[in-house]
């Protein structure tokens, strides 16, 4: 009922078609996403089930030989948390040199950044995730939002 009211005037089927197109666009965009030295905005991730949330992102490397890879997550109103190789989070002092290496491996010219795999039902959304990698002495990064689906 809620959904029908929310999409009043648009048509449920029309909405589903639009959503499918949007998801396709996202997927295409997601498959082509890259990090940049000055940072870049990446496509958002929408969670349909926050109780078993899996968040990851594939990043094209364009030939970069990645030395280290890093993940930072921000929760609303809270400081930034950095992810370690074990998938645990601890506060980050905002110094890129202090980010722990997550050790993600490259395959097929891309790198799969694993961010979260847990129950997120007790946190506020959205989240802001920043991905970094260092290659040839240069840090590249990009960010995306994790939002809660309705």
């Amino acid at each position: 009922m809620t959904r029908m009211i929310r999409f009043h005037g648009f048509g449920r089927s029309g909405f589903l078609v639009a959503l499918a197109i949007l998801v396709c666009i996202w997927n295409v965009a997601a498959a082509q996403e890259r990090l940049q030295p000055a940072g870049v905005r990446l496509s958002p991730v929408m969670l349909s089930d926050v109780t078993a949330a899996v968040v990851s992102k594939q990043i094209l490397l364009d030939g970069d030989a990645v030395d280290t890879s890093h993940v930072v997550v921000q929760f609303p109103g809270a400081g930034a948390l950095m992810r370690d190789r074990a998938g645990l989070f601890q506060p980050w002092d905002r110094a890129p040199a202090h980010l722990p290496d997550n050790g993600f491996t490259a395959a097929g010219g891309a790198m799969q950044f694993k961010v979260l795999n847990q129950d997120l039902s007790r946190i506020n959304f959205p989240l802001r995730v920043t991905l970094y990698y260092r290659a040839g002495g240069q840090m590249k990064f990009g960010y995306f939002d994790v939002v809660q689906g309705n």
């Binding site: 009211i5 921000q74 109103g77 400081g79 930034a80 989240l127 802001r128």
Partner: protein
């Protein structure tokens, strides 16, 4: 008894006994009334909240008036922390509003027609009534209209800009600080009713938003959208008959603000503020007799499940953990708050999570130039700022001689929140605004500001996206790098990279549509749009940094976009940390200064909630006092780096202004001189 006896003896001895007794009774009565008055102002207000019955009555009263005038309306009611308690839409009410300043402007949000749902307008108006008010002041959206325009008062030639110029773009839907309601009843409630909540369009200047009081206690706000216009009052020299406002007034019957704290009892810069233009005696309906409203509640994505709930929900009691804003708990909130809680005048409040822990715990800042703010330094600065507030005379509060009530935010040079605390009765809007101010100052004083605003990976998208979504005149869509070029043409080629300390006041100077402020024969400041394209809905750099977020949110609420705006207003990313340094948007009025430590920029302090000079003083003097107490190298900006050393356009920028004789119980003057 002694007083009475002494009083009897003082009464003229020639008086007859009966007359003397009458005189004594009169004095006793006067003493009792004075005592009651004193108690009313000094005792803590009883905990109050809006019940479901209250919300039903408020809506029913508004509906009855709307019916009597044959003007179907959309009505929203919120609690003090911005929870939407109900949204009610009468059959035939305009579904959308036209955003307009009343001038032929088609930039920013101005001129947006048929796109913004009336529900969003009504909620923003209700939130504004609740957030701008407190137990010491009752402000309305009409008051907001008076203080955000290019002249104060609006329409007065050559008057400077409104004292809260730019505040309309606070509490934005993309703020990383404001909480979001989740339309997911199956989930545990958790933080769903903890505030402060966001306002869908920011704060509103459209008449028809008022605070709601119970027993003299601020409990929420009501907003009405009936006329299809989301605008402002461009002329305060007359009295309007605004349909939104009339219906809103009807809704507040029985929940009116105490007369003694209405905006029209408060002056700013010698000018009396305006509360409403409507006399309650002009109402057509008899609101007190209104029956409960028939169910025409609506869901508003991202704000309310009124329809699904079958009607209103109750509001939270402000000051409790459930409201998201509560007093510091010394036993559980940690030693970091030691320096914050040791002040007179009641325990400072903080924001808390669903687990009742500090939402913004005191943390250390990031390192810059080998320096950073330590936890003890953050705590000490917060504490000293709150002490300055506690000992200073408020500008916008009644009774006279009340202390200043504000929120204080500290950030590091990357915009990360290091700590946030507030006096108990500070208006809620100051939470988000104090953080905006601190971040704006830290960002624009940072040597990386120009590089981050010129980032080609981020900002070309703004020009395209804003123009496309807005559908307005493409030629008027500024790219953010255009502003950098303007600023550098105005202030020198190294501006925004030379380390000059830009305070909130200086940023305000540069963001007005006339430079200097109010001189309407002159052109705009470099962060503003030219006056031909300027309005409170089209301010310049401030709005353009967040306009994409706002438009995406509008589309999300209408269902045209599946995804809400993300965490963080503005797409700015720091080239140092990769974080968003302006995550709740840019703010452009006074009340913030940068923090230095041994010559390096390490953050900023932002203050909001009272008059702008009071906010400025709490930030500037609070930091100064803390620097003396700490003796660790933490200080205000070195004098040679302050904005008041700059004379762009031949006019000196201002740095900070303090009231002339600001302290309670003291005649000390020029308290910021020589600092």
């Amino acid at each position: 008894m002694g007083f009475i006896w002494a009083t009897m003896k003082q009464i003229a001895p020639g008086m007859c006994k009966r007359a003397r007794q009458r005189a004594v009774r009169g004095r006793i009565l006067a003493l009792g009334l004075a005592l009651l008055g004193f108690m009313a102002f000094s005792l803590p207000a009883a905990a109050q909240n809006l019940t479901v019955a209250d919300v039903n009555r408020i809506i029913a009263q508004a509906v009855q008036e709307a019916n009597a005038r044959a003007r179907p309306a959309t009505i929203a009611v919120t609690d003090r922390v911005g929870n939407v308690l109900a949204v009610y839409q009468m059959a035939g009410a305009p579904a959308a509003v036209t955003v307009t300043s009343g001038r032929p402007i088609r930039t920013g949000l101005d001129g947006l027609a048929g796109v913004v749902p009336a529900t969003m307008a009504a909620i923003s108006k209700a939130v504004t009534g609740a957030y701008l008010s407190s137990s010491g002041n009752a402000f309305s959206t009409r008051t907001a209209s008076q203080i955000v325009q290019q002249h104060f008062n609006p329409g007065e030639d050559f008057g400077p800009g409104g004292p809260l110029f730019g505040v309309q773009f606070s509490q934005l839907p993309c703020s990383d600080l404001s909480r979001r309601f989740v339309n997911a009843p199956a989930l545990p409630p958790l933080d769903q009713l903890r505030g402060p909540k966001r306002a869908p369009l920011g704060l509103s200047a459209d008449p028809g938003g008022l605070p709601l009081y119970k027993g003299g206690v601020l409990v929420g706000g009501i907003g009405v959208a009936a006329d299809g216009v989301y605008g402002l009052d461009r002329n305060t020299s007359d009295f309007d008959s605004d349909m939104d406002e009339i219906i809103t007034i009807a809704g507040t019957v029985g929940y009116e603000a105490p007369r003694g704290i209405l905006a029209d009892r408060i002056t700013v810069e010698g000018k009396t503020l305006r509360y409403t233009d409507v006399d309650p005696g002009a109402l057509l309906a008899a609101p007190g007799l209104a029956a409960a409203a028939a169910p025409a509640f609506v869901n508003v994505t991202g704000y309310s499940d009124s329809l699904t709930n079958g009607g209103p929900i109750a509001g939270q009691v402000y000051g409790t953990s459930a409201s998201g804003v509560r007093p510091i708990a010394p036993a559980t909130d940690g030693a970091a708050y030691t320096n914050v809680r040791n002040i007179a005048g009641g325990a400072p409040h903080i924001l808390v999570t669903g687990a009742d822990a500090p939402f913004n715990p005191v943390i250390a800042g990031a390192v810059n130039g080998g320096q950073n703010l330590a936890v003890n330094e953050v705590s000490t600065i917060l504490g000293h700022a709150l002490r300055v507030a506690n000992t200073s005379r408020a500008q916008i509060r009644r009774p006279l001689q009340s202390p200043v009530q504000v929120t204080v935010s500290l950030v590091d040079q990357e915009g990360t929140i290091l700590g946030l605390a507030r006096t108990p009765d500070g208006p809620l809007f100051g939470i988000d605004v104090s953080l905006q101010k601190a971040r704006s100052v830290a960002f624009l004083s940072n040597v990386n500001a120009a590089a981050n605003l010129n980032n080609p990976a981020v900002f070309p998208a703004i020009r395209v996206t804003a123009t496309t979504l807005n559908g307005l005149i493409p030629g008027h869509a500024y790219a953010i790098p255009d502003y950098v070029a303007q600023i550098r043409a105005f202030m020198g080629t190294t501006a925004l990279a030379n380390g000059f300390a830009l305070s909130g006041k200086a940023i305000g100077n540069l963001s007005r549509p006339y430079y200097p402020d109010g001189v309407q024969t002159n052109a705009n400041g470099p962060m503003s749009r030219p006056i031909a394209n300027w309005s409170p809905f089209s301010t310049g750099l401030q709005l353009d940094l967040s306009v994409t977020n706002i438009l995406q949110h509008i589309q999300f609420v209408t269902g045209a976009a599946a995804v809400d705006t993300g965490l963080g207003c503005t797409p700015v990313i720091s080239n140092v940390s990769g974080l968003n340094p302006l995550a709740n948007g840019l703010q452009i009025f006074a009340g913030a200064v940068p923090i230095f430590k041994n010559g390096a920029l390490v953050g900023a302090i932002g203050v909001s909630g009272d008059g702008i000079d009071q906010d400025d003083m709490v930030a500037f003097l609070g930091l100064h006092n803390a620097s003396i107490a700490l003796a660790s190298g933490v200080s205000n900006a070195p004098a040679a780096l302050r904005a008041d050393q700059l004379l762009p356009g031949g006019v000196r920028l201002r740095y900070a202004a303090c009231p002339f004789a600001p302290f309670l119980g003291s005649r000390q003057q020029n308290v910021c001189e020589g600092i």
